[in-house]
């Protein structure tokens, strides 16, 4: 790539965010209600039907779910309140500009491109969820991945393509109207989740609060994984709840939102999203999943396939089907819009509508891969681990660097195209954490055990429990490399650069 092309790419990237270069002004700040509404609507998505179901299939216990998810969601809320929001209200800049300051424009382009890909994948999973609902209504079976069905039927693909096409076109033409519609849908959805679960309880034998806990352990969260599934426990629940939005809180993605907050304490508004969407909705979808499996087994089905559409139909009828379709749709739409925006940085000469449509095609393709929904929890975990480090650098740059006498925003001040400490910290932390996980999970990575000291070879890493090690490795590598970089730099720090 030539220098001219490089500068075009960076100019284009900057142009996308040209209105976000300046900190948000006082007159544009918002209060508690805005953030409560925003978090409540954003974190109740179609994928909640999948993640609650996956916990049941992975054999967690009722204690794991009720206490583990509570702890994980609490940690997520604290991460938003004490890590993300304080930086956001002090800097009042988007994540894009903050990453650019500490990591340089090249790494920001890499971050944006990869972030676009994962957003397409997540949008695809939401289309997939909506498709299961429409397919259930018209009697088309959804693919049963655990039974070995790797590709959906043609009619199912046609429904997914139709839904995906509508979502892509709306993302291009009418995002604002769709955003308003999502706001209308949001208050209704938690009621449908709760109603579906309450109405399903009697089919499992629950007669009142007295026997709920017993039935919950015997028939819903039994502690026994479904055949072919890994066994999850308490810490998996904690890790999943904490990790699934780590790119937004510890990864600082939501500084873009909280830069509009009057006070950092508004970070606690995230509790509404977490405890409605990732606690109540996951528990409710777990109950509906168990009721569906119970009903299918009673009907003689050997391998029940609890798709979001099927469990919602059983729990709340056609209202449940509408809920699944809308939950998938309203979340897939802004996700696709953001993916298009991020993709645009890698395609400088393309128009935004074309980029968004290309992102839509990627979304539709991923929606037709059943493995995406089957491994959604793992995908979410990888997503968190991979994108979190750059946000961790913003946090460390903001709080720790002045105390260490290091220059803040070094890449920006020295006009570096890429910060090598950020590259080492980012790829190093993910590489180390992935290798520690893969050595015991994939045969092709088993050789790693032979090269490690015995204490590390004995360490059995789990993807969901890598949050803290990944964060610590990332910030340690970044800080040490920054010390080396800044101490070796022949250019003295400018007045006022430190602190």
């Amino acid at each position: 790539m030539g220098t001219g092309q490089k500068s075009t790419l960076i100019e284009r990237l900057d142009a996308l965010y040209e209105y976000d270069r300046e900190p948000v002004t006082e007159d544009k700040l918002h209060g508690w209600r805005t953030f409560i509404a925003m978090f409540s609507s954003e974190h109740i998505a179609g994928t909640e039907f999948v993640l609650g179901t996956l916990l049941v299939l992975h054999g967690v216990t009722a204690f794991d779910v009720f206490v583990g998810l509570a702890l994980g969601n609490l940690l997520a809320v604290l991460s938003w309140a004490f890590m993300c929001a304080p930086v956001a209200v002090k800097e009042r800049l988007t994540i894009y500009w903050q990453i650019r300051k500490v990591a340089g424009p090249y790494l920001t382009v890499v971050y944006s491109g990869l972030f676009a890909l994962i957003l397409c994948l997540l949008a695809g999973s939401m289309v997939s969820v909506s498709t299961t609902a429409v397919a259930a209504t018209v009697g088309i079976p959804s693919p049963n991945y655990t039974a070995g069905e790797m590709v959906p039927s043609l009619p199912w693909i046609a429904i997914a393509a139709g839904l995906g096409a509508v979502i892509a076109v709306v993302a291009v033409l009418g995002f604002e109207r769709m955003a308003h519609f999502a706001k209308v849908v949001a208050p209704w959805m938690p009621f449908v989740f709760l109603a579906g679960a309450v109405a399903s309880l009697s089919s499992l034998g629950v007669t009142g609060p007295g026997n709920f806990w017993t039935i919950a352990n015997e028939k819903i969260w039994t502690g026994i994984p479904k055949e072919g599934q890994i066994h999850y426990g308490f810490w998996h629940c904690v890790g999943l709840a904490w990790l699934c939005n780590i790119a937004q809180h510890m990864g600082m993605g939501d500084v873009t939102i909280f830069r509009y907050a009057r006070k950092w304490q508004m970070g606690f508004c995230s509790a509404f999203g977490m405890f409605l969407g990732h606690y109540m909705a996951w528990i409710c979808s777990g109950v509906m999943c168990a009721a569906f499996v119970h009903a299918q087994r009673a009907a003689g089905v050997a391998q029940p396939n609890p798709t979001p559409g099927d469990i919602a139909m059983l729990g709340a009828g056609y209202a449940g089907i509408v809920c699944v379709v809308l939950a998938g749709w309203t979340t897939a739409n802004p996700t696709l819009y953001r993916a298009g925006l991020a993709f645009q940085v890698a395609t400088p000469n393309w128009r935004r509508w074309l980029v968004t449509l290309v992102a839509g095609v990627v979304m539709i393709v991923t929606a037709c891969i059943p493995a995406i929904l089957a491994y959604l929890d793992r995908i979410v975990a990888y997503y968190g681990l991979f994108f979190m480090p750059l946000g961790a650098f913003i946090f460390i740059d903001f709080w720790l660097f002045p105390k260490l006498g290091l220059m803040r925003n070094y890449a920006e001040r020295k006009r570096l195209m890429a910060s090598w400490p950020a590259a080492v910290g980012w790829f190093g932390s993910f590489g180390i954490c992935f290798a520690l996980y893969a050595k015991d999970q994939y045969a092709s990575w088993a050789w790693v055990n032979d090269t490690l000291p015995s204490f590390l070879a004995r360490y059995k890493a789990d993807l969901f429990l890598q949050v803290l090690p990944a964060w610590l490795i990332a910030v340690t590598l970044y800080t040490l490399c920054s010390i080396i970089q800044q101490r070796l730099s022949s250019v003295p720090a400018l007045e006022g650069d430190v602190a």
Partner: protein, 63 residues
């Protein structure tokens, strides 16, 4: 939209939300049949969507 219209629309919306949850407890308590519960859920949905879009405000914070 007058404040009275807005009040009526809001009242129907909230009634729709109530209709989207209370029948679940009624079917759990064996007070109504499952068929009735499913119809009431549809009714609640129609009440909410038929009215809420007129008074729920558009987003103000852009991300």
């Amino acid at each position: 939209m007058t404040s009275q219209t807005r009040f009526v629309l809001k009242a129907i919306s909230y009634l729709g939300l109530a209709m989207s949850i209370l029948p679940a407890f009624l079917v759990f308590g064996d007070v109504v049949s499952r068929g009735t519960y499913l119809w009431l859920m549809i009714l609640g949905m129609a009440m909410w969507f038929g009215t809420a879009s007129f008074w729920v405000r558009r987003d103000q914070v852009s991300s």
